[in-house]
C-alpha cells in the first residue's frame, strides 16, 4: 500500500524532457541547434479550415465533365513578358548548395512537366536547373552569390528576396560540409568555411531604396521580366503594401512553416507568423490598394495537398509555392531509408540536419556518393505526379463549391474548426456566423 503514500513522479510541462534535453545539449556543446526545415510546432493551419461545398443555395460542377481551369498569370502589372503557368503550384526557391545538382535538375524536370515554375536560391543559377526548367525564377538575395546580368536576362522572372518564413530577418547559412569546390566557386568563397550570408541587401535599405533597386533590375532587363518580392511572414499587411509601392509585380509571402536549408531552431520556431495568419493580411493590403489580382500573391509555408492549395486560393492567393513538400516528393525522409536515418541518430520523417550534408536520399547534400544515388529523371517524374495530384485535388474541391476556375474560390466557401483559425483566416467558426474580431454577421 506504500504506493498510495507517495505522489507519483510528475513531468513538468514547462521543463519537459525535450526542453531539458536541449538545455543539456547547449551546456555540452556551447552552440545553438541548427537545422533545416520549417516550424515543427503545432500551429493553426489549413487543416483547421473546411470547405462548405454546394447544396441547394450553391450548385456544384460535374466532376469529370465540367471544366475547372487552373492556370495563372503572374507579372501582369509591369512586365512585358508575364508568366503563364498551367497550375497555381510553383516550386519555391532552394539553392544549389543546399540541394544537390541532381535534385535541382529533378525540380526543374517535374515542374516543367507539370506546367509550372521553379526557382533558384542563394547559390546562383546552375545549368541543370536552367536547362530543365521551362519557367525559372531567379532570386536576387542579400548575398548576391553568382549574381550576373546574363542570368537575370535568361530568367523568366526575378524574385527579390527580402526574407523567408523560416527566418524573417535572417540571412542564409551553409555550413562547411556543403561548401564543395563547385559551390565555393559559384559563391566565390573559400572551400569548407561556414558561410553566413548577410540578412540585409548590400545596396539598398528600406522601401524607397527597394523601389529604385527594382527600377534598376527592370532597366537591366528592358522591362521584360516580372519582378517578385518575397517576404517572410513578419508584418504581411505592411510588407505587402510596401512591396507593391516599391513596384513589385508579384508578392510572395512565406509563413513560418516555410523551410530553410539551415538556421537556428530558435529562429525557426520563435520568429514570424503562421502561413494562415499571413494570407488575409496580405490580401487586405492588396485590396486596400485596389490591386488584388493585378499584383499577384503567392503564398508558401506548409502547403502539402490540393486542399491546402484550394484553401490558400480561397483566401485570396493567386498561387502557392512548395519547398519541403517537393523534397518529400523527391524522396526526402523516405521510410525506405530508415536504417540510414537511424545511423545518423534520427528517424524517417524527423531528419532535418540538412546542413550536415549527409542526406541518404542524396537531395540535401554535396557528397558525390550520396547525390549519385538520386535519379533526377525518376525524381522529376515523382514531382510531376505529386503536382498533378495536388491540382486534381484542388479542382475536386473547387467543383464541389461550384467554381469553374480555382481562382473563383473565395473566403465565403470556408469555415473554421477552431476560434484561432477563424480569427486568423477571417472566416466564420463552423456552425456559427462568428468571425472573431469582426463581430457577428447579420444572418
Amino acid at each position: 500500500m506504500t504506493e498510495f503514500l507517495r505522489t507519483p513522479p510528475k513531468q513538468s510541462a514547462t521543463f519537459s524532457n525535450d526542453q531539458n534535453a536541449e538545455i543539456r545539449r547547449a551546456a555540452a556543446t556551447g552552440i545553438y541547434d541548427i537545422r533545416g526545415g520549417g516550424s515543427k510546432r503545432k500551429l493553426p493551419h489549413f487543416d483547421d479550415l473546411l470547405f462548405l461545398g454546394a447544396s441547394i443555395s450553391r450548385y456544384p460542377l460535374e466532376g469529370y465533365r465540367e471544366k475547372c481551369a487552373t492556370d495563372v498569370w503572374l507579372g501582369t502589372r509591369h512586365a512585358k513578358q508575364p508568366i503563364h503557368l498551367d497550375i497555381p503550384v510553383t516550386i519555391a526557391g532552394m539553392s544549389f548548395g543546399s540541394l544537390s545538382g541532381p535534385a535541382k535538375e529533378a525540380l526543374g524536370r517535374g515542374a516543367s512537366e507539370a506546367g509550372t515554375s521553379t526557382t533558384t536560391g542563394d547559390g546562383g543559377m546552375t545549368e541543370e536547373e536552367r536547362g530543365h526548367s521551362r519557367t525559372l525564377v531567379y532570386q536576387v538575395l542579400p548575398s548576391r552569390y553568382g549574381m550576373n546580368p546574363d542570368d537575370l536576362r535568361r530568367a523568366d522572372a526575378i524574385e527579390v528576396v527580402v526574407g523567408q518564413g523560416a527566418k524573417p530577418g535572417g540571412g542564409g547559412m551553409l555550413l562547411g560540409q556543403k561548401i564543395s569546390d563547385r559551390v565555393a566557386e559559384m559563391r566565390n568563397l573559400p572551400k569548407g568555411i561556414d558561410q553566413r550570408s548577410a540578412c540585409r541587401h548590400p545596396d539598398w535599405t528600406g522601401p524607397d531604396d527597394l523601389e529604385i533597386k527594382i527600377l534598376e533590375i527592370r532597366e537591366i532587363t528592358d522591362w521584360q521580366k516580372p519582378i517578385y518580392v518575397k517576404v517572410g511572414g513578419a508584418r504581411p499587411y505592411y510588407d505587402t503594401a510596401l512591396a507593391v509601392k516599391a513596384g513589385a509585380d508579384v508578392v510572395v509571402v512565406d509563413g513560418m512553416q516555410g523551410g530553410t536549408a539551415a538556421t537556428q531552431d530558435v529562429f525557426i520556431e520563435h520568429v514570424g507568423q503562421p502561413t494562415l495568419a499571413c494570407i488575409p493580411q496580405a490580401v487586405k493590403a492588396l485590396q486596400d490598394l485596389g490591386l488584388h489580382r493585378e499584383v499577384q500573391l503567392i503564398v508558401s509555408g506548409g502547403i502539402r495537398s490540393g486542399a491546402d492549395v484550394a484553401k490558400a486560393l480561397a483566401l485570396g492567393a493567386d498561387a502557392v509555392a512548395i519547398g519541403t513538400a517537393a523534397l518529400v516528393a523527391l524522396g526526402d525522409n523516405d521510410p525506405s531509408l530508415e536504417a540510414e536515418y537511424r545511423r545518423l541518430g534520427t528517424t524517417a520523417g524527423a531528419y532535418d540536419d540538412w546542413h550536415e550534408g549527409r542526406d541518404p536520399a542524396g537531395i540535401t547534400t554535396q557528397d558525390p556518393e550520396l547525390f549519385g544515388r538520386f535519379d533526377p529523371v525518376l525524381g522529376g517524374r515523382r514531382l510531376k505526379n505529386y503536382l498533378r495530384v495536388m491540382t486534381l485535388e484542388a479542382q475536386t474541391i473547387a467543383r464541389a463549391c461550384g467554381k469553374s476556375h480555382l481562382h473563383n474560390l473565395e473566403p465565403e466557401d470556408l469555415c473554421a474548426l477552431t476560434i484561432e483559425a477563424a480569427a486568423m483566416a477571417g472566416v466564420p467558426l463552423a456552425g456559427t456566423s462568428w468571425i472573431p474580431g469582426r463581430g457577428a454577421a447579420p444572418y
Partner: protein
C-alpha cells in the same frame, strides 16, 4: 582597358543622348541594343542627367560612355565591358555588381560603391561614403580620397585601394579581399587584421595605382595591407562575442 575618354569626344563620333528629353528606358535600351553589333557608335555622352537613377545599367559592349553631371542610384550597375565616366558625383551603389569594364567617378561616391562587384575596375577620384566595396567579389576599387564606415563588409575577393583614410569597422567579417589603405583606419571590423606588405603586394598595388589613375599620387610603400584573420570562417563558441 581604360580609354582616355575626354580625348575621344570629338564632334563627329560622339553620340549625344539627352536623358531629360528621351527618358531612361530609351537610354538603356539603346545602349543594350549595341551588344554584339558591329557599330561605330561606341562613344556616347549622356546629358541632362539631373541625378537620375539606373543610368547606363547592364551594358554589355565595349562602349565609352561619359555621363555629364551627377547621378542617382546604381549608375553603371552590372556593367560588362563598357568604360563609364561620371563627370560629377555618383549616388548610392555606383557600379554595383560590375562584371568587367571600368567605371570612373570624377567626384565623390555615395554609399555601397562597387557593392558585390565581380570584376572590372571602379575608380573614385573623390571620397566614397559608407560600405564602399561591401560584399565585393573580385572587383578592383581605387579611391583617391577617403572611405566611410563599414567599407569592405563581408568582402569576398578583389582589391580595395584607399589613398586617404578609412572609417570605422573596415573589413568587418572579411573573406579573401585585399584592402590597402594609405592613411588612418579609424577601426578594424571583426576578423580584419593588418597584414604584412610583401613584395608581391607592392607589385600588385603599383599596378592598381596605375590602372586607378593614381600613379604619381601615392607610392605603394606608404600603404598598409589589411585582410582576414580567418578566425570566423568556422563557427566557434569562444568567438561568439565577435559575431
Amino acid at each position: 582597358m581604360l580609354h582616355a575618354t575626354a580625348n575621344r569626344l570629338d564632334a563627329e563620333s560622339v553620340q549625344t543622348f539627352d536623358l531629360a528629353a528621351r527618358g531612361l528606358r530609351a537610354l538603356n535600351e539603346t545602349l543594350h541594343a549595341l551588344k554584339g553589333q558591329p557599330t561605330n557608335q561606341t562613344v556616347w555622352e549622356i546629358v541632362n542627367t539631373k541625378g537620375a537613377h539606373a543610368i547606363a545599367v547592364g551594358l554589355d559592349a565595349p562602349l565609352d560612355v561619359t555621363v555629364r553631371g551627377t547621378t542617382g542610384y546604381y549608375c553603371g550597375g552590372m556593367n560588362k565591358q563598357a568604360t563609364i565616366r561620371i563627370d560629377g558625383s555618383a549616388g548610392p551603389g555606383v557600379a554595383e555588381n560590375m562584371m568587367s569594364g571600368t567605371v570612373i567617378v570624377e567626384g565623390d561616391a555615395s554609399q555601397y560603391a562597387g557593392a558585390t562587384g565581380r570584376g572590372g575596375l571602379l575608380v573614385i577620384k573623390g571620397n566614397a561614403s559608407s560600405r564602399c566595396g561591401i560584399s565585393m567579389k573580385g572587383i578592383d576599387i581605387v579611391v583617391h580620397g577617403s572611405i566611410g564606415h563599414m567599407s569592405a563588409f563581408m568582402a569576398q575577393s578583389g582589391n580595395l585601394v584607399v589613398l586617404g583614410d578609412a572609417g570605422d569597422s573596415l573589413g568587418d567579417s572579411l573573406y579573401e579581399a585585399r584592402l590597402f589603405v594609405r592613411g588612418s583606419v579609424k577601426s578594424l571590423g571583426a576578423d580584419c587584421v593588418e597584414k604584412e606588405m610583401r613584395p608581391e603586394h607592392h607589385a600588385l598595388l603599383e599596378d592598381l595605382l596605375r590602372r586607378g589613375l593614381a600613379e604619381g599620387k601615392a607610392d605603394p610603400s606608404q600603404f598598409r595591407r589589411y585582410g582576414s584573420a580567418r578566425r570566423l570562417y568556422t563557427f566557434h563558441v569562444d568567438n561568439a562575442s565577435s559575431y
